[in-house]
C-alpha cells in the first residue's frame, strides 16, 4: 500500500502542476505534449519514458486530481496502450523514442495484426511471412479481425520468419507502417451488418529492420506481453472525466476522438444480450403473464445475478490479497451463457415481432440486433471452447491433450 506521506505529496505536486498548466483552450496535441514532457500523463510509466515511476495506486490519485479539475488525459483509446506496453517492455531505445510520444498525444493510431483466417484460436499457427531482404523485412499474407485498421498508422505484426523451427519459435514481432502501398485494408462485414473489423492483406509490404521488436524468433514471447495487457484491460482506463465545467476547445476535440474510437462498437451492448431490458420487456410485452415465460425469465435472471456476484467474489478475494479461486477464470464463460439465454428469452417474449428488424421492429431494432449479435460473445477474445480448455488445464489441473503440431512448422498440418 502507498504511504500517506507519498499520497499527500503526489496530490500536492499534481495539483500545483495542473494549476500552472491546465488550459482547456489548448489543442489536444498541445496539451498532451505537456503531459508527455511532465510525466503526469502516464505517471505509472518509468521516468525516462514520459512517466514518473509511481505505483499504480498513486497513479489513481493523479487520475482523481485530473478528474477534479476536468483535465483531459493522455490518449488511451484503441490498442495504443497495448502497443505502448509492449514497446516499453521489449522495444529498442529507437523504437520507444520514435513511437511512444505520438501514442500518448493521440497523433498516431495503432492496430493489432495477430489473428489470421487460418489461425484463430491457434494464434501460434500464423502463416503470414516475413523474409529478410537487405535492410527490410518483406511481408506477405493476410490478417483478420483487425480493429480500426482503416484509420491506423501503425500495426503490431506477428509474422513467421523461420519455417523450420517449431511453431512458437519461428515467429517474430514487428511494427509495420499501415499506410504503404503493400498494405490493403478491407472492412469485414459481420452477420449483424456492422463492420467493426478489417481484413488486412500484405503484398510485399516493407518493414525496416529497425522495426523488429525483440529478437528474431522471439515474436511469440513479445506477443504474450501484448495479450497479457489486453486481458488486464489495458492498465485501468478511466473513462473521461465528467467533472469540471468542461467548456473549451479541447473538450470538443476529445469528444470527436472518442466518437471515432467508439463508432465500431455501438452494437457491443447488444452482443452481451441486454439482460438489463429483460424485466421491462416482460412487462411491456405481457410475457410476465405467461407461466412458461415467467420460468424462463426467472432462470435467466438467476443466472445473470449469480454470474454478477461470482465476478464480485473474485474481485473481493483479489482485494483481500487471497489466492484467486476458480471464480476468477469463469467470467467469460458465464457471460456467453447469459448472452445466449438472453437471446432466447428476448425471442420468447417478443413473439412473432422477432421476425422484424430495423426501425419498425421492437425497441427501434435493438431487440433484433441482440438476436443477431449474441453469437459473437462466445467467439471474440477466446472461444468458449478455448476458455474451457484453459479452465480445465490451468485451474483444474487436468492433463493436456496430445499434440500434433510439434517439430518443424513446415511439416505441421494447417489450413
Amino acid at each position: 500500500m502507498m504511504s500517506k506521506v507519498n499520497e499527500t505529496e503526489v496530490r500536492a505536486e499534481v495539483r500545483e502542476w495542473l494549476a500552472a498548466n491546465w488550459d482547456p483552450e489548448l489543442s489536444l496535441v498541445e496539451w498532451r505534449n505537456k503531459l508527455v514532457d511532465s510525466g503526469w500523463g502516464m505517471p505509472q510509466w518509468p521516468q525516462e519514458w514520459y512517466g514518473r515511476g509511481l505505483p499504480v495506486a498513486l497513479a489513481r490519485v493523479v487520475e482523481e486530481e485530473f478528474a477534479n479539475v476536468g483535465a483531459v488525459a493522455a490518449a488511451k483509446t484503441g490498442v495504443r496502450l497495448l502497443a505502448a506496453a509492449t514497446l516499453l517492455e521489449h522495444g529498442s531505445e529507437l523504437q520507444k523514442k520514435k513511437f511512444l510520444r505520438r501514442i500518448l498525444t493521440g497523433e498516431d493510431s495503432w492496430c493489432q495484426l495477430f489473428s489470421e483466417p487460418g489461425s484463430g484460436s491457434d494464434l501460434a499457427g500464423a502463416t503470414t511471412r516475413a523474409d529478410l531482404q537487405g535492410d527490410f523485412w518483406i511481408i506477405n499474407g493476410q490478417k483478420v479481425w483487425t480493429t480500426s485498421a482503416h484509420h491506423a498508422d501503425h500495426g503490431l505484426l506477428l509474422a513467421r520468419t523461420d519455417w523450420d523451427a517449431p511453431k512458437h519459435d519461428g515467429m517474430s514481432y514487428f511494427v509495420i507502417d499501415i499506410k504503404q502501398p503493400g498494405v490493403d485494408v478491407q472492412p469485414l462485414r459481420q452477420m449483424n451488418g456492422h463492420a467493426s473489423f478489417n481484413q488486412v492483406f500484405f503484398t510485399d509490404a516493407k518493414v525496416p529492420v529497425e522495426n523488429l521488436v525483440g529478437k528474431v524468433g522471439e515474436g511469440w514471447k513479445v506477443a504474450m506481453t501484448t495479450l497479457a495487457h489486453e486481458r488486464r484491460g489495458a492498465d485501468g482506463l478511466a473513462p473521461p472525466s465528467k467533472r469540471g465545467r468542461r467548456v473549451g476547445r479541447i473538450y470538443a476535440e476529445e469528444r470527436a476522438e472518442l466518437e471515432t474510437a467508439n463508432q465500431p462498437y455501438k452494437w457491443y451492448p447488444q452482443r452481451a444480450g441486454r439482460v438489463d431490458l429483460i424485466i421491462e420487456r416482460a412487462k411491456e410485452t405481457g410475457a410476465n403473464k405467461d407461466p412458461n415465460a415467467r420460468q424462463e425469465i426467472a432462470r435467466l435472471m438467476i443466472m445473470a445475478k449469480s454470474a454478477e456476484w461470482t465476478a464480485r467474489r473474485a474481485r473481493a478475494a483479489q482485494q483481500q490479497g487471497r489466492p484467486q479461486g476458480p471464480e476468477g477464470s469463469l467470467g467469460k464463460l458465464a457471460a456467453s451463457n447469459v448472452a445466449r439465454a438472453c437471446a432466447r428469452v428476448h425471442t420468447l417474449m417478443t413473439g412473432t415481432e422477432a421476425l422484424l428488424t430495423g426501425s419498425e421492429s421492437p425497441r427501434e431494432g435493438i431487440i433484433a440486433e441482440i438476436l443477431v449479435s449474441v453469437p459473437a460473445v462466445s467467439i471474440a477474445g477466446g472461444t468458449d471452447e478455448i476458455q474451457r480448455n484453459i479452465i480445465a488445464e490451468r485451474v483444474l489441473g487436468l492433463p493436456k491433450e496430445p499434440r500434433f503440431d510439434t517439430g518443424p512448422f513446415r511439416n505441421v498440418r494447417r489450413n
Partner: protein, 390 residues
Amino acid sequence: MSASEETRVEPARRIQFAFTDEQEQFRSAIRRFLQDKSPTTEVRRLMATPEGYDPAVWRQLSDELALPGVHIPEQYGGGGFGMVELSIVTEELGRALLCAPYFSTVVLAANAILNSGTEAQRANLLPDLASGAKFAALAITELNGSWDPRKIELVATSDTDGYRLQGTKSYVIDGHIAERLVVAARLAGKAADEGLGLFTLRANSVGVERRLLESMDPTRKLARIDFRGAHAELLGSLTDGAKAISRTLDQAAIALSNEMVGGAQALFDSALNYTKMRVQFGREIGSFQAIKHKLADLLLEVELAKSAAYYAAQAAATNDPEWPALACLAKAEASDAYLHMAAECIQLHGGIGFTWDNDTHLWFKRAKSSEVFLGQPDYHRELLMQRWGV
C-alpha cells in the same frame, strides 16, 4: 414478528463478497471435525439405522464446536451469530453429508421458535436446542405436500389452557426422534393467510402418533405425524403466524441452498479426482476435451450456485429488504446445480458410478431430496417473480 425482530441479534453490516478470516477459520474447524467424524463409512452405517445419527458425534459437535446454537442469540444460550455463520455450518454439513438432526433442530425448529415465540417462550425453549441437549422438528407440510403456508389445513382449536391439534403432518424431517415438535396449524374456519399459527408440544404428548417413512434419501429421515386432539401451546400470536412461517421457510431455503452447494462441491471434487486417475484408451479420461469441457461447465455451475447461496445468506444477515426473494433465487439455483452435478458425477464415473458401493449415490439422493424439499425449483422461480413484482 415485531417482538422477534427487536430482539434478534443481527449485526448491521453491508453485504460482503468474501468471508472474513474468522469465518474461514470457523469453516476449517468444522471441516476438520467432519473429515474425522463423518467419513462415508459412517454415513453408510448411520443411514441404515432408524435413528439416523450418532449420539457421541452429536455431543462433540455440540460441546466442542457449539454448532447447534451458532445463530441463536446469546441470551438464549447460543453463539449470537447470524445467517452467514449458520450457512457456513450447513455448507460443511452438506459437503460431508453428516447424518444428524441439525437441519431439523437448528435450522427449522429453532428459527421457528425465534420467529414466533414470546420472550418467555424463547427463553424457555431455546437453551435446550442451543446446547444440543434436545432435538426438535418443524411440521409444516401435510399429505398434500405443499410448501405454501396458505395450503395448511391442520386444525387448531382453542381450549381452556391452550389448543388442541387435529390432522396429519408429513415429510417432517427427524420427526420420529424429535423430543419437541413445532407445528404449523390453522384455526377452524379460517383460510389462506388467516388464522395461521405455530404451536409447540412435547413429541410424546397424548394424541401424537409418529411413524418413520421410508425415504429415498436415507440420510434425511422423514416422519408422518398424526395429531388426534393433542394439547399444544401457541407460539406468540395468531396475527403474525403466516409471516413467521414464511420467514422460517425462507431462512431454511437459504440454509439448504448453502448445504446444497457444499454437497455439489464434494461431488465436483470427487468427479475431478476420478477423471485424473481413470485411464481408458491409454490416457487419463480427464485429458479428453469431452470430459474437460464438461468439468469446466460444472465448475461454473457450482460457483454460480455458491455465489447465489452466499449472497442470499449475506442479504438475510444484513436484513436487506430483498432477502426473501433471494432465498427463492438461491434455492432454485442451488437445487438445479446440485442435481446436475450429481447426475454428471455418476456419468463421469461410468458404470462404477451406478453401483451401491460407489459413494456418489449418497450425494445424488441428497441432491434429489433437497431439490424437492422446501419446494421444487419451478415453485421458487415463480415465487421469485412474484416477490420481484414481475
